[in-house]
Amino acid sequence: MQKDKSGKIENVVHPNEKLVKTHCSYCGMQCGMNLRVNTVSNKIVGVEPRYDWPVTLGKMCPKGVTAYQQTNHSDRLLKPLIRDDASLKGTKEGFREASWEEAYDLITTKFKELQTNYGKNSLSVYSGVSMTNEKCYLTGKFARVGLQTRYIDYNGRFCMSSAAGGFLRSFGVDRGSTLPWTDIHETDCIFMAGSNTAECHPTSMFRVWAVQERGGYLIVVDPRETPIARRADVHLDIKPGTDLALANGILNLLIQNNYTDEHFIKNHTNGFEETKELVKLFTPEYTSEITGVDPEKIIRAAELYGKAPNAIVMFARGIEQQVKGVDNVSGYTNMALITGKIGRPKSGVATLTGQGNGQGGREHGQKADALPGYRKIANPEHVKEVSAFWGIDPSEMPKPGVSAYEMFGLMEEKTIRGLYLLCSNPAVSAPNLNYVRKVMKELDFMVCADFYLSESCEFADVVLPTTTWSEDEGTVTNLEGRIIKINKAQEPVGESKPDWQIQIELAERLGRGKYFSHLKTARDVADEFRGASKGGYADYFGATWDKIDKQDGVFWPCKSEDDPGTPHMFLDKKFYHPDGKAKICALPYRPPAEEPDEVYPLRLTTGRVVYHYLSGNQTRRIKFLNDMCPEPYVEVHPEKAMEYGIEHDEIIRLYTRRGQAFYKVKITEAIRKDTVFVPYSFGHDESINLLTIDALDPISRMPEFKACAAQIEKLEIKKVL
């Protein structure tokens, strides 16, 4: 690996410029960067590497390099927008600029009217985790104390909720990585399942390659030969939606071939015997039958992971966005628990968090069932603690709500009539979009807060202009569980405001000012938030901004001012279940909700490309990124293409039981013959989520984005997109 040159490389500072150190706005890597700010115009003008950031050493992917272009982009929303003609919902048409006062007045009137007529719970908040912990925390408080509704949830249901559910079950705690990223290049074997790491978390790659350069091994589980799978020692080319069988199969081999750590199992885990019995069924041949992976490759993968002195099991949405996402997480985590490859440096389990604050954003109370510090609304003690902190009576705390996708069901049946949407773009990112878009259109009243006019804004009555990440400050928790600081580089563009300020001003107008008016700055929110997390197991109390700056971030839990934080979890072999033990889970295999059949014989899977982030609302507007990938496409194996008589670049109709779309064919041998792939970051008619299935994991309520049945139709008349 290129050696850590921390502090040895100076930055270039151009004339009339200064550098503001911060992190990227996009994925969970939260790469360190310096924003270049012109000292005459006080505007962000570019980016300079942050060589001394220990996780990424100045490295950035193309999204990171161009992230600065978001701030002063010509598409920025500069003033609130109001649409008077509701018949234009679902389009960009009919908006007029308004003052904040007019927008606030309208929202206050409508919200009060709905709550008077239909009860407090007729309003809902749908949030996201591409924003600071402070904003995520305040959004939870805004919903429960400001709006007094039970219906709040967030886009992590489409992202991290399966990992969270799996970790909670296996470890009793949900910190996305049990070890810091700076350990990765020193491990001996990486088992990477369902992660297109090179495109989704590119700055992890120099550490991954370093493992191989040292003579270590890389095992990749993916239906496609992605750029990371291309160089893997073993590529397990799995059928989408069958991960649990593979996990059980490998577990069986690890047990049969005595790669287990008996001492660790006995002293630090429960559930081994039961699991051992269950996985006996999963011989390499049986596992191969379900997963489509050659038995020899499964045997080799188990041998390499079993033999490795140190190994890290890693995974991402590929295994998590399934109806058994939680089981897949616990299933692969079992590998580390039966071999004892956890709770020490260079070994452990990690999920690659999708969104910038996917970790912190799920811990502090914008999840339907959660309160700050990862407390639970169903736990009366937790409700008492948080109520006391907020100064409300425990009886006033709303009950648990429902998950993000399930909120659309309540909107359809008019239980929910109003929506406050922020930091998310479900009109692109939700599954089964024909249904979701219809429901959003029929809402009585919808507010959308964003810094661009996203596809979801097109369904709103009022659009509120927010700031980008570079115009506000606060903390984010990266994919390691490291709390880091986002710094403000310029004043907000136009009349845009940070989400926390908008929510405080709305709460005041709704007569709830006494719970919010003391918060004047982002720092005030931060201090309140740290206090609210105190005593929860995601305890941020000791993670002050000063300490974050001094230590290059603070790993939670961090309980007091003199606690340096916890880079490695479970070093004392103490897990977070009441008896201190981890749980090895016996998990019977279940197939995907929709298996291919004669009418829909293909397996459709979706994912990202390196140039786009989530729904693409930001990255599609950045010229460099959009030039590189301006439109979606469908990847098809050449043999399958031959069967359908379709050619490279030909436009075909791809359809499922839920919807259809027209895509250019991209022929590649780097995909399974029975599988097609479409990137999901595109809007309107190009959204692959028009086709995806809304089957949900019973625990995490994660939709099965990664596997459904589809069919291709060759078009009689050539279509031009």
Partner: protein
């Protein structure tokens, strides 16, 4: 301490961050000056960067009738001098890698100058600074020697540029580095 651009072709994932970062260098007028190719997109996802190798005796400069292409004391082959370039494109044709790009509006060649604003002070060029995979690295002679020993390829082609256009200031490691690695277990 002399440092060189070092290219580990096998590491490339095709993210084109190097191209995005190229635009960020002070003297680059927000235009990128290098290339990343899909090697065989119908078969696999292998990609490779094509960067200026900064030849010691560069064909581009030799072919320039106007002496517009200067060589910096660090060895970097600079972009055409605006006041001298006559827009003949000899350099683009002469370069065995086709590196010099041409601006038809300004009738002017532009090429990689190895971020001379940075590298003259020992600061890595933008492409090697951001490269998420260590395909592009900024290394000392000693570090490059260690790489050569570590990967110990027996095909004698450790630097690709030897056969193509004489000695280059940039060092290239061809795909296949892992062939020379001894496995840990």
């Amino acid at each position: 301490m002399k440092q060189r651009l070092y290219i580990e072709l096998e590491n490339c994932i095709g993210c084109r961050s190097c191209l995005a970062a190229c635009t960020q260098c002070g003297g680059h007028e927000e235009r990128n000056r290098n290339y990343v190719y899909d090697v065989n997109p119908f078969v696999n996802r292998q990609t490779m960067p094509l960067m200026c190798l900064h030849c010691v005796n560069p064909a581009c400069a030799r072919s320039c009738p106007a002496q517009a292409i200067q060589i910096h004391e660090t060895g970097a082959v600079l972009s055409a001098l605006v006041e001298k370039c006559i827009g003949c494109q000899n350099c683009t044709i002469a370069c065995p890698y086709g590196i010099p790009k041409f601006d038809t509006e300004q009738n002017l060649m532009y090429k990689c100058d190895l971020c001379i604003d940075r590298t003259k002070d020992g600061i890595p060029p933008m492409c090697a600074s951001v490269c998420p995979t260590n395909t592009l690295q900024w290394l000392t002679e000693e570090e490059i020697e260690m790489k050569q020993k570590q990967f110990n390829l027996d095909n004698g082609k450790w630097t690709a540029s030897m056969k193509l256009e004489g000695e280059t200031n940039v060092r290239v490691n061809l795909p296949g580095i892992l062939q020379g690695v001894t496995k840990l277990f």
